[in-house]
Symmetry: C2
Subunit: 348 residues, 2 copies
């Protein structure tokens, strides 16, 4: 077997075992060479597998009963890394028993367990959480960090740019993804010292597989003008949630508007295919699967409320990253950066 | 005359004199006791006044030809404070010739000129830019700071909370507006030291005319669960622009969806009243008029691209703040805070 298997925390998430197993089964239709390690309650996993013949021969079950709670503090969850479904899924990656772990459980706990078990890659100071967002362009835009690091220095931001570009090359197939730093203006003088320092490092770097285009403001994230948006975890989390909230706000207004009169109800029914298209574009399940980048192994976070199609997207993200060897790509770019930095006189 | 007049920079903004004068005229229909000082090219202002008989007797013109450019650096614009329409409008407030200034010009230049000419109120370390955002609640939500201060400490955030609450009391009529700090989670341990420190100061403060409800995440800003969202200028600018961008993204998708087939075009026409309602809710003109809070005088920034109705909203904001004496309200709350802080043993 050339490809490592995928460990699935079958117990995490609001929907539980059935949705996690169904999602993995759906993903396996596109990625049929993958095998799975399903971690959780054996009886319930077996019951869920009954509905998915394509999974039975491809799955091993690792039984455990303990589950990390949704509101549990990361420090508390860490102590139960060896007994919980989340901890065992991550530890399978550490032990080389799997190449990737997928969980829909508590984000903070997953981050903490992943960092502790897998450690950061050589050349990476801190891992980052990256997600795919819908855009008006041909493909999703990647944004990172989304909350793993509240405060970041210029060096962290440069590493995030390299990791995000490697991820984008896999997702979009582009050789040099367009990378920008999130800022409150596009002029050189805008923003914090860290941002200006990071911009100057990225401008001066040569040989990286990306095109660095400077700063981007938050209203342009979805316009399709760039492939990777790099930011600290605080601003990234604010931007991500502001976008989610605003999209929900507009669709709520739209629903209110469409149900405000008989005429608009009829209009809504007639234009149903159009609003279905909108719903499809905005459905978080279609962009599910945030990735912890920069660890010695792939860890994918599925939305807690994702349905089977959403879980399938998260599992497919893990499969793509293993097929394309994300970790190796990031290592190669870090090597290029370090080689350039040890050669003097590269600055513009 | 009991109410001070309003100085209008008639030259700022993309649309120029006619829109600024028409906007003031529209606002004067609701606030007919106000008089205006219109600053800019006399010939063009006179021509614009021809269309608005209600403004003629209520307006004085202060002629000047110099205009601050949209891309001009604040430091550069500052040198021309005594010759530009923006500078003269602000200086009229300083000289007591007007109670408020309204401009649709360069935000950075307006902030710099206002700070220099009007100075911060006693007890305020830094002014903040506040705006009204649409919400699912009964009234708009106020968010501040939106970019005046890239980095803020706990003391700044507490002052922003007081200023925002005073503004909200005027806009909403509520005695104790619900105030929250923007953060990446609602648990006590989330976010930066500054945020935790600010939260603890606001929790401990007594006698302030607000209800402090802790943290809020960016996806809840528009849900109608709070009246004032307090944040540093970097995060506030990111959140504001992310919301604007996402709202535009959704409406763009909707437009594409509605024009994708004949059936959906017909649906769109039938449901026109519904989508008009949506457009009305999201139209930035209906939420126009960002306010610089914390100065010795009222300064309102109108969107550069606002139409006459938008300018009218910005002028009406200035009028409301003068009628209700915002500056005095902020001073009173600062006094309460300082009195409480000089009395020991208040902490919870």
């Amino acid at each position: 077997m050339s490809l490592p298997r995928i460990a699935v925390d079958a117990m995490g998430g609001d929907e539980g075992v059935r949705v996690m197993v169904s999602g993995a089964a759906l993903a396996r239709r596109q990625h049929d060479q993958f095998k799975f390690l399903l971690v959780g309650d054996e009886t319930r996993i077996k019951a869920a597998l009954d509905a998915h013949p394509n999974m039975r021969g491809a799955s091993e079950i690792l039984h455990c009963e303990d589950v990390v709670g949704g509101d549990e503090k990361p420090t508390q969850a860490l102590r139960r890394a060896r007994t919980t479904s989340m901890g065992l899924a991550v530890n399978a990656v550490k032990a080389g028993d799997a190449g990737a772990a997928v969980s829909a459980g508590n984000t903070g706990a997953l981050m903490a367990m992943s960092k502790l078990a897998l450690r950061t890659m050589p050349g990476i100071d801190r891992p980052a959480l990256a997600a795919l967002l819908p855009s008006l362009g041909d493909h999703d835009v990647i944004m990172l960090d989304l909350g793993a690091n509240t405060e970041c220095d210029a060096r962290n931001l440069v590493q995030f740019a390299i990791m995000g570009a490697a991820y984008s090359r896999i997702v979009t197939g582009q050789a040099e993804p367009r990378v920008r730093l999130l800022n409150i203006g596009t002029e050189d003088i805008k923003g914090t010292d860290q941002l200006q320092d990071a911009a100057s490092r990225l401008r001066d770097a040569t040989g990286l597989a990306m095109q660095f285009d400077g700063f981007i403001e938050a209203d342009k994230i979805n316009r399709g003008q760039c492939d990777v948006v790099v930011t600290d975890g605080f601003s990234g989390n604010i931007a991500l949630k502001a976008i989610e909230g605003a999209a929900r706000f507009v669709t709520d207004l739209l629903r209110n508007a469409f149900t405000s009169s008989l005429r608009s109800k009829i209009g809504f029914l007639v234009s149903r295919p159009a609003t279905e298209l909108l719903r499809h574009h905005l459905d978080p399940n279609n962009h599910n699967g945030a990735v912890f980048l920069g660890l010695n192994g792939v860890v994918v976070k599925s939305h807690g409320s994702a349905n089977a199609a959403g879980v399938a997207n998260a599992v497919a993200v893990a499969a793509r990253l293993l097929e394309e060897d994300l970790t190796q790509r990031i290592a190669a770019d870090l090597g290029t950066l370090q080689a350039a930095q040890s050669t003097p006189g590269e600055a513009a």
